[in-house]
């Protein structure tokens, strides 16, 4: 599974880190994320993509 975040629209509402803490986290005030997480995290990744107010997260495959 590959994940992209569009930082042009991301407004740091912080919801994805709540929905999928194993993929997204806030480190020293900045978002860091695993761009190629294991497939066992797919449900979490989809929750995070759904929860993002800017819809900035794309799950590519």
């Amino acid at each position: 599974m590959r994940i992209e975040v569009d930082f042009n629209v991301c407004a740091d509402h912080g919801q994805r880190a709540i929905a999928a803490p194993d993929i997204f986290r806030i480190d020293d005030g900045h978002l860091v994320f695993d761009a190629a997480p294991g497939d066992e995290l797919r449900a979490d990744a989809e929750d995070a993509a759904d929860a993002c107010p800017e819809q900035a997260i794309t799950i590519l495959d």
């Binding site: 005030g29 107010p53 819809q55 794309t58």
Partner: protein
């Protein structure tokens, strides 16, 4: 037997319901019927980014128009999961009636174009429509009166704001404008402010009626575009019903420092103008909590453009006659099944703004929650419930207890709320200073001594998890 699911409403809730039905294992056909002509799109940017949006270079193809609905729609259209590629969308067709049926034959929708859709299970996700003020004065397209709910509303408001800005620029380059409304007999604007000129540029007058989330966000956007903005709200300072008086007053002061005006107390009793609105006629506001001082009855606020943001009405008329409780949305049980009082018929579940359900996280009182996160949360549960009921399986008995969440970006203020602050009887300022919201504020909301909600203003996202966990 293959069950057919009809979903009424093609917004966020309708889309998520289709996706979650697939995730729950429903392999049969799904038809989504939507009153708007657009595929599902994200509404929050309509009051903010999309309202202010200029065409990016990439979109500035010859002939492209920022106000073109297709261009606007592209900015906010939802991506869809591959699992819903075979879902049928019937768009631009309101549903006029539904018959849930009485036996195993299922129910039927009647559409405004005369078509019908048979179903074995129904998802009600038809959302809300904006209220309009019922007062004398110009009305209808071209009157300068706007509401904001749909993409088409947004396109109309964008065009109106741009036209008003252009007209003000033209006028500002000639002479000082006398904007006193003839209908007020030259009554000066409350607070005695003359036509606004900043750096030699005249600014159009925008009046926003209603200081809820939509009203505040639109007001901030109009201010950022260069409009002179006044917010009129009879109830109290902005967001008072959700956040309480103390915090609401602090938000008002922050917006006033940014250049926004408020008329708090008097309601709107009419609009001045012939074909187009030229002013907003206020009720008696003597003694009102208005930033600009008391307003006499009949005072007229000059207005080139008005936005009515006075709340919404649930779209449930199409469900009349089926024995459902439609007094405020659709009454549901905790599994999001519509309460049918034992009448037979196809199963109905409810998603998003329409769902009035008890949330054991708080208490046993059924409530509607008009937050953006609710369609996604309720769609998941409504889909598993509907799938189980169509299959004759047991419905998931685990309590459905979603944590309400909203955010609102208003100029320099970023509000994030968890839980249900509107239910509180006590507010505690846990961090920060109400006089300086920009520096960050945490308010906690309590009912009967128990924490029921929190509000973070300009706090970093790293704090949100702990705020959430405290309410779980």
């Amino acid at each position: 037997m293959t069950n057919h699911v009809a979903i009424v409403g093609a917004g966020l809730g309708g889309l998520r319901a289709a996706e979650q039905l697939r995730a729950a294992g429903h392999a049969g056909p799904i038809t989504v019927v939507g009153a708007e002509p657009h595929m599902p799109y994200n509404r929050p940017p309509l009051s903010k980014e999309l309202l202010a949006h200029e065409l990016a270079d990439a979109e500035s193809a010859p002939g492209a128009d920022a106000d073109d609905l297709a261009v606007l729609h592209k900015q906010v259209a939802f991506r869809q999961r591959a699992s819903v590629a075979d879902v049928t969308f019937r768009l631009g067709v309101p549903v006029t009636a539904a018959d849930l049926g009485a036996g195993s034959t299922g129910g039927e929708l009647v559409l405004a174009d005369g078509g019908t859709v048979r179903f074995d299970g129904l998802v009600a996700a038809a959302g809300l429509r904006p209220r309009h003020l019922d007062v004398p004065g110009p009305a209808g397209p071209g009157s300068g009166r706007h509401v904001l709910r749909t993409l088409d509303d947004c396109a109309s408001l964008r065009a109106g704001l741009r036209a008003a800005l252009a007209a003000a620029r033209d006028q500002g380059s000639s002479a000082a404008r006398d904007r006193s409304s003839p209908a007020s007999g030259g009554t000066p604007r409350p607070g005695g402010r003359a036509a606004v000129a900043v750096e030699g540029l005249a600014r159009p007058y925008v009046v926003v009626v209603g200081a809820g989330f939509v009203g505040c966000e639109v007001a901030c956007t109009a201010l950022s575009l260069g409009c002179d903005v006044t917010v009129v709200e009879p109830i109290g300072p902005p967001l008072i019903r959700v956040l309480g008086e103390q915090v609401a007053q602090a938000i008002q002061r922050a917006h006033e420092r940014a250049g926004m005006s408020f008329v708090i107390g008097p309601g709107v009793i009419g609009y001045a103008g012939e074909d187009r609105v030229t002013g907003v006629v206020l009720a008696d506001g003597t003694g009102a909590l208005t930033s600009a001082g008391p307003t006499p009855a009949g005072a007229v606020l000059p207005a080139d453009l008005v936005v009515e943001a006075i709340g919404s009405i649930p779209n449930t008329e199409w469900l009349d006659g089926n024995g459902l409780d439609l007094t405020d949305g659709v009454l549901c049980d905790n599994t999001l099944s519509a309460v049918t009082s034992g009448r037979p018929g196809a199963p109905v579940t409810v998603v998003g703004d329409l769902a009035r359900f008890p949330n054991p996280l708080l208490d046993d009182v059924p409530r509607r929650v008009e937050h953006w996160s609710m369609p996604t949360d309720t769609a998941r549960r409504a889909a598993t419930t509907l799938h189980a009921r169509m299959a004759g399986d047991q419905v998931d008995p685990n309590p459905f207890r979603p944590l309400p969440y909203f955010w609102s970006d208003q100029g320099e203020l970023r509000l994030q709320s968890f839980g249900s602050p509107q239910l509180a009887d006590d507010v505690v300022i846990a961090e920060g200073d109400l006089a300086d919201l920009d520096q960050g504020l945490l308010a906690t909301y309590h009912r009967g001594g128990r924490l029921v909600g929190s509000l973070a203003v300009n706090l970093p996202p790293s704090r949100y998890r702990e705020l959430r966990e405290a309410l779980r």
